[in-house]
Symmetry: C2
Subunit: 350 residues, 2 copies
Amino acid sequence: MENRVDALLVTDLINIRYLTGFTGSNAALLVYAWDSSEDRTVICTDGRYITQVGEQVPDLRAEINRASARRVLEIAGEWQTGRVGFESHIVTVDQHQGFQALKAGLDLVPIPGLVEQLRMVKDGYEVAQLRAACDAADAALATLIERGGLRPGRTERQVARELEWLMFEHGSEAVSFETIVATGVNSAVPHHRPTDAVLATGDFVKLDFGAVVGGYHSDMTRTYVLGRASEWQREIYELVRASQQAGREALAPGAATKAVDAASRKVIEAAGYGDLFVHGLGHGVGLQIHEAPGIAKTGTGTLLDGVAVTVEPGVYFPGRGGVRIEDTLVVRKGGPELLTRTSKDLTVVD
Amino acid sequence: MENRVDALLVTDLINIRYLTGFTGSNAALLVYAWDSSEDRTVICTDGRYITQVGEQVPDLRAEINRASARRVLEIAGEWQTGRVGFESHIVTVDQHQGFQALKAGLDLVPIPGLVEQLRMVKDGYEVAQLRAACDAADAALATLIERGGLRPGRTERQVARELEWLMFEHGSEAVSFETIVATGVNSAVPHHRPTDAVLATGDFVKLDFGAVVGGYHSDMTRTYVLGRASEWQREIYELVRASQQAGREALAPGAATKAVDAASRKVIEAAGYGDLFVHGLGHGVGLQIHEAPGIAKTGTGTLLDGVAVTVEPGVYFPGRGGVRIEDTLVVRKGGPELLTRTSKDLTVVD
């Protein structure tokens, strides 16, 4: 094989966490190919993490050196490793120049996105973390609504902070991304930042938020109506709900990602609102909130059993309001596993 | 000049925000040299940000294209720009290869860190943002203590969440970084993550946290004693306080960063605890929580009037406890301006 390498230098910290469990802020990992004559895989980090690397990665040789990538390449050179792949989608031009200046006698080969490919399919442990993150988000939203947190007179910012607080109370270790709370006309902005805008009777209120457990992210959007739903609100809500259901039902091992997008999008297009669904249908989710695979019109590739994704169609009427409904799911034979379990019935919050 | 370029391609989003005010998540900026025959500077972003780019950057030509860097390089090519600098410390090997594959007739020249150099010196608007962020953090900590939030029986995690909540209430738009609350033996870990460890009488409690206003970050550490201070706690606290004061007093335009580190460090070394001060003295702070300049033993360069930095010495006794005291300041002729104004007297919280 032309791209055959003897070892892979991994410098992306999320990829290192995925492969080893190490969560420090400085690391490089040199992974030798499976048929290497002995197991030479080595991780390098700096002095702040001496204890931590021993605890989190007890089974690998650990080097301590601030210049972590440089150090493992030196080791690769000492072992006359020959061809070493590197993450060319992560390594900067300056870093690459530094690697070459080492003159370690290595042939550095660009290998972009390899670990990201592996990360798409989640194993049982990873799905358990995703499930726990989704549970924390579900529980936080239920508590928010129960205690009257979604009511006319509160600001978007207040609701966002309370929702984040409740996620922590329910076991989240961080927020998955900046929480979106968008009321009234703001609900027409796909990625609105919470402001001091006040929730009012008759508003759509769109909430897009997530929890993190064990490093794994949840992602969910729900849209509610405050007070009473008007005719156009019911119509548009049911349309997005049907579109979202069609997208979920299209998730299957072997399905082309663009076919999944199309299954959901055609429901909205058939109603004449295709140009108001202004973004892709979804994305992979895991140690990052956005990761492979993308699910969009222009997507390539197909889904596999165990891939975790979001399905999140939306329709946005500028200056009026919008609806998005989003779940996090795991692709499975026999139908996807739904991780975000909050009801998607049109909910009128009084 | 050998490094003379006709234009600079800026792809780092923080640098683009600094230069233009644009805060979207996809952008490229092509800045022409001041003596260019006409003002051709152009920003490119994607369709999600059509409205936003017009509002935030009304004075620049805006292009709309998902492949933002590629698009502005095409424009540079159409204008036969010749030598175009790029941020070689940011641009990945794959991106660089993509730029070259455009065959736009450009000579791409690595220009690392230029905008970061400009960002070190803060103007009046920037200092006002930093001051507001530091005020929010000061106010949050005062409120936390007033309402009894720091008391035996609470967990590190509870204290961290409440402090973050209070920063939002006092006007912060985000947390500057993951809040550190470290009690008892955990205070000996420089960058401890909050756990369910319970605050107990006699503990050192170390709080390291920050607010964000207008994109600008504050950074402050305070260490308290719960209940009553023992002799060794008083001693070590006063030592770190004296060291921190020496570091602050060494801040001046023209001072070498390593001399500032040395001024603070020698106080701790003279007491025989030099090996327990395991990190650098401080760092620049602004649109990022860590930015140029670093202030450390191995630092190079000198300070300028208007540079914003932290001064944060610490002494850590493994298995016993530690103290760090940190302020955010602006270097000024006649003495630095202190932005984090919470008292540094040894405070015993009852």
